[in-house]
């Protein structure tokens, strides 16, 4: 597929070439080749177990923290293969938000957001204050927490915790932000807030959102990839995927015939 034509004005930020991932001898994704455009939202949809989470976990090398998990192929970030680089460095550039909000339980709201910077050696209080403020604003959480920055992060509601985790990920200023079903544990109101947030974030970040909520993909993403049984079935503009998919399998999934 000619991605440049598909992406239009968006340059390619990440490129997965023939990527396969395994858990022990079990294959989870099977030679997926996919480009991710810069500063926009790419959604990955597909039924449970199709490998969509595994795929984005490969993009910041979180896949390999699972025992006996491995990955083959090439994953390029700005043209350089991340699989031969230090995973810790890669994860500073490619952040991640998880399905379940996971704030650090012993830390305050402020400390949660500052954790990534502090534990990577940033000591300057002015920089920390400024980044925490900006990240919380970007995550649309500032107005709700500005008076209780020192109270525990665990005291927030589920949706607020998830936005706290987004703020925490943004604070280290990643280039790419991966979101693994960020709303699946949230109620509709909290989900709407996160979706608005995703829409705003794409101005400055490259986002990849895994979801099994098709409406969500339709609402937030410019491009959508459909995966099934570990394979990439179709990848196109979101509108095209939902209105006129090229593959029968995609159409069956979109119309709810399985999944």
């Amino acid at each position: 597929m000619d991605y440049q034509q598909l992406f239009g004005l968006h340059p390619t930020k990440m490129r997965a070439i023939d990527v396969s991932a395994f858990y022990g001898s079990k294959i989870a994704i099977d030679s997926v080749t996919l480009d991710i455009p810069e500063k926009t939202v790419t959604a990955i949809i597909g039924p449970s177990g199709c490998g969509k989470s595994t795929f984005i976990r490969c993009l910041n090398r979180m896949h390999e923290v699972v025992p006996r998990a491995r990955v083959s192929g090439k994953i390029l970030l700005d043209g350089e293969d991340i699989l031969v680089q230090d995973p810790v460095q890669i994860r500073r550039r490619v952040g991640m938000v998880f399905q379940r909000a996971n704030p650090f339980p012993t830390m305050s709201i402020y400390d949660n957001v500052a954790a990534g910077l502090r534990l990577n050696g940033v000591r300057d209080q002015k920089i920390l204050d400024e980044r925490v403020l900006r990240s919380l604003k970007q995550a649309a959480l500032w107005d709700e927490v500005k008076d209780e920055l020192n109270s525990p992060g665990m005291r927030l509601s589920g949706g607020q915790q998830q936005r706290l985790c987004i703020a925490r990920a943004l604070a280290v200023e990643p280039e790419v932000l991966l979101m693994d079903e960020p709303c699946s544990a949230l109620d509709p109101i909290a989900t709407a807030k996160i979706e608005d947030l995703i829409y705003d974030l794409k101005k400055s970040y490259t986002l990849v959102v895994v979801t099994h909520n098709m409406q969500q993909a339709a609402r937030v993403a410019e491009f959508t990839a459909f995966m099934y049984l570990g394979k990439l079935v179709e990848y196109d503009r979101t509108q095209k995927i939902f209105e006129n998919p090229a593959e029968k399998l995609t159409e069956n999934y979109i119309t709810g015939r399985f999944g």
Partner: protein, 307 residues
């Protein structure tokens, strides 16, 4: 309640009988605890006071035949117990938590399971054998030519061996209860694993780590057998004349509460027998206090995590 003599009635009756039997078993299980507490409070309570706990020991005497027969104090034994427990904690808590970190964070899989199993075996070794082992090991390494045969270090070492598997296993369990999502969140921020463990995982497990360490202290503090071969016994305070280093002062036999109770309790002298009861009460109270503190910390933590 009216009982009908049909099948339902029989079912109710069996139900009552079973609950009654279970309740009886609970009461039987609690009898020793109640009886122990009652006896030591009754016999030790009247003599337990600050002077008794901190005072020096006095010569044995019989209240029936001698005038001015005083009970004296158990200060040297209290001092020895705390000094050796402190030294043992200095060894066992860092090493045990370090080993727990390895088992939970690095050595997952077969290696970890094998070491965990060995730790369980180690905590099952009879404590007298631990004492005997330390005693023999000191001879093997020719320590008696450099130190006294019986000294506080040997006692602390034996107590540390008792504590080590407990600290290790509780630390391992505490770290395993920290959700993996917390680690993943840290990794995804580009935080190296060792730093994530030190700054985030250990703190999340904090309360349980302290609980485990305190339970180990309570367990080792209550031990008598491992001290018999190692710290032996002394009725005197640790003697530290000016000019002598504190470290070499500990190269002497020291008293401890367990051995004191054994020696005094089997003594023919009335002041020592009474003193043994007082020491027993103090011993029970101290170990109870440590255990209860440990459990309160754990309870608070569970409340916090649950809420």
């Amino acid at each position: 309640m009216k009982i009908h003599w049909n099948r339902d009635g029989r079912r109710h009756l069996i139900n009552y009988a079973m609950s009654g039997a279970a309740l009886a078993c609970v009461i039987i299980a609690l009898i020793p605890l109640g009886s122990i507490l009652w006896t030591v409070i009754q016999k030790g309570g009247p003599i337990l006071n600050y002077g008794f706990i901190t005072g020096a020991e006095v010569a044995p005497c019989n209240a029936n035949s001698q005038l001015n027969c005083q009970i004296g104090g158990i200060g040297p034994a209290v001092e020895g117990t705390f000094v050796m427990l402190g030294l043992a904690s200095l060894i066992a808590i860092p090493v045990g938590i370090g080993a727990g970190i390895f088992l939970a964070e690095y050595g997952r899989g077969r290696v970890s399971r094998t070491i965990s199993f060995l730790m369980d075996v180690m905590s099952g070794v009879p404590s007298i054998v631990v004492g005997l082992f330390v005693f023999t090991a000191l001879f093997y390494y020719d320590i008696p030519n450099r130190l006294h045969i019986y000294n506080a270090y040997a006692g602390a070492l034996a107590l540390a061996v008792i504590m080590l598997p407990i600290v290790t296993r509780t630390a391992e369990e505490a770290l395993r209860t920290v959700p993996n999502g917390i680690r993943e969140a840290a990794w995804a921020l580009g935080i190296p694993h060792h730093r994530a463990v030190r700054k985030i995982v250990l703190r999340s497990a904090g309360g349980s780590l302290i609980t485990g360490a305190l339970l180990a202290v309570a367990r080792a503090g209550g031990e008598t057998a491992p001290l018999l071969f190692t710290a032996a016994w002394s009725p005197f305070f640790i003697n530290c004349p000016p000019g002598q280093s504190a470290l070499s002062c500990l190269d002497n036999p020291v008293g401890a509460l367990g051995p004191l109770i054994w020696i005094w309790g089997t003594s023919p002298y009335s002041n020592e027998i009474s003193g043994a009861w007082g020491a027993a009460l103090f011993f029970v109270l101290i170990m109870l206090a440590i255990s209860v503190t440990a459990r309160i910390i754990l309870y608070r933590r569970n409340q916090r995590v649950g809420g």
